[in-house]
Symmetry: C2
Subunit: 303 residues, 2 copies
């Protein structure tokens, strides 16, 4: 049964028990373009206590620099090393975990952010935003089409958010995935994401399409996948037993913590709710929950 954090003593216990605080961003730190209450104060308090703050987001369209800029727009100074977007995590996973040789190229289904992170990790990318001919319908009579000119140096196909996804891109991606030596990496497997009061198809929708036709299973580098915690541990050498994941999403954030041996805390400022929490069987519930992240600061300041 999840425990609600309601007292200074409970916050103190959290502070004593954990050195590393991992946060989801949207729904925890901010909501879309609004900073959530007392987040600034909470993060300052944690920093003053020497805690390591790590920000983990499945958004695959932004680079770390772009995330740092978004934090800065709210007055939050964050080191890029402490931000793990799923595009960055994918690139580091390829380099440090899979140890994909740097002379191998990356076939991209995704946006500029994904390309930049792989480039920064030392890889050359193809596909992605660099092949506008893929925006046209697939014409099998066109012998110049990329589908007939696969690059033998491609060692991995990476699928992230790509609003230019179409049959042509799927068909060429399939040809790469069918090669036994080409590794399949997914930035994350989110089925949808919220936008303009709707939900739109998420990265996982594209990932599943490519997985279904190729029958190749991807390494997913976003929450809730293990690959992501491997990347974070490899980068920062954190002790998972002294780490807590704070998020608003039961399926991604809390599952990420629970599946990977991190302590977990749900906040109710995003898509999570106490109702959804209580509907889960006990072993799948996070250890703690709170109305908002800012409660940690407010409770510590209370008498």
């Amino acid at each position: 049964m999840s425990i609600k954090v309601t007292s200074k003593e409970m916050v103190q216990e959290l502070l004593d028990n954990y050195d590393n605080f991992l946060f989801d961003c949207d729904g925890v730190i901010w909501l879309d373009t609004t900073l959530l209450p007392k987040v600034l104060e909470t993060l300052d308090m944690l920093r003053a206590l020497g805690k390591r703050l790590i920000f983990v987001t499945n958004n695959s369209t932004k680079t770390r620099d772009e995330f740092v800029a978004k934090f800065a727009s709210f007055g939050l100074k964050i080191n890029r090393e402490d931000v793990f977007g799923s595009s960055y995590a994918s690139a580091i996973f390829a380099k440090d975990i899979l140890k994909l040789p740097q002379d191998q190229k990356i076939w991209i289904v995704g946006d500029k952010g994904l390309e930049k992170e792989f480039k920064e990790a030392g890889y050359k990318t193809i596909g992605g935003t660099k092949m506008p001919e893929l925006d046209e319908p697939l014409d099998l009579k066109n012998k110049d089409d990329p589908i007939y000119h696969l690059d033998p140096q491609v060692g991995a196909a990476v699928v992230g958010m790509d609003t230019k996804i179409n049959y042509h891109r799927l068909a060429v991606t399939l040809q790469y995935l069918l090669k036994p030596n080409v590794v399949y990496i997914a930035t994350n497997i989110d089925s949808t994401y919220p936008a303009n009061g709707m939900v739109l198809p998420g990265e996982g929708t594209l990932v599943q399409a490519a997985a279904y036709c190729s029958q190749k299973k991807p390494y997913s580098c976003g929450k809730p996948s293990k690959s992501l915690i491997d990347v974070i541990v490899k980068t920062h050498g954190i002790d998972k037993n002294r780490s807590i994941m704070i998020g608003d999403n039961l399926n991604t954030d809390m599952k990420f913590g629970l599946d990977n041996g991190l302590e977990t805390m749900l906040v109710m400022t995003g898509i999570g709710s106490e109702e959804a929490l209580n509907a889960l069987e006990e072993t799948k519930q996070p250890t703690y929950f709170a109305d908002k992240l800012g409660d940690l600061y407010e409770l510590m300041e209370s008498r």
Copy 2:
């Protein structure tokens, strides 16, 4: 253990035991644009014996009339009532099995063939080839976009082969599928299809993408799904115990027969092989196999 059909006596037994012969087309009747040997003679022989011949194909881009025309190009006269393409089967499934009221509209992801079959079944379709604006990238700032103007009369979303699939079409399809009253129909769940010596993403790739983001499970109307045999039985009132499915594909044709109580016979003129057959556990093997469909005629003619 599958039995190879090698004698006149064995063919005679098949002829005695079955009244309804269901055939896959590509790899059984023809291979791409070539009629396979002794097919004409075999079908004539079966007809002369009063057998019912039914042709079952997962191809969702053609109407029954187009299939009849393809048969005619090989000199085979076939009644359109005896051809079950997966687009036709989807329309009949909606009308006769789901009993979807005819004043409800059908949201289409697919080509003209799919639209025509639903139109012929009495439904009005939207989407599909009728909304060229969906070929453009999704622009959430455009308040005229179909994503903001969902048609409340839509009662089903149907996904078949659509080489114009893109993020925009997926996103609008998702909005329809998220409505509790909208039924999800898939023409078939083939992961790929062969073309130009390659394999390309099949209907199932699009179907899975829409299923993943919407978390809605489709009724699939192609082989190997039960919906298809329901449609055939509803149309022709055949006795499944007196019916045999002949095909070249273990995963679709033979599974379709095995899962739905039809006798099964594999032929080796398409993608099936004796090696693949023997690799299957015994309960998943077809009862009979032959080198080609034309063997039925050749063996009967032998002394």
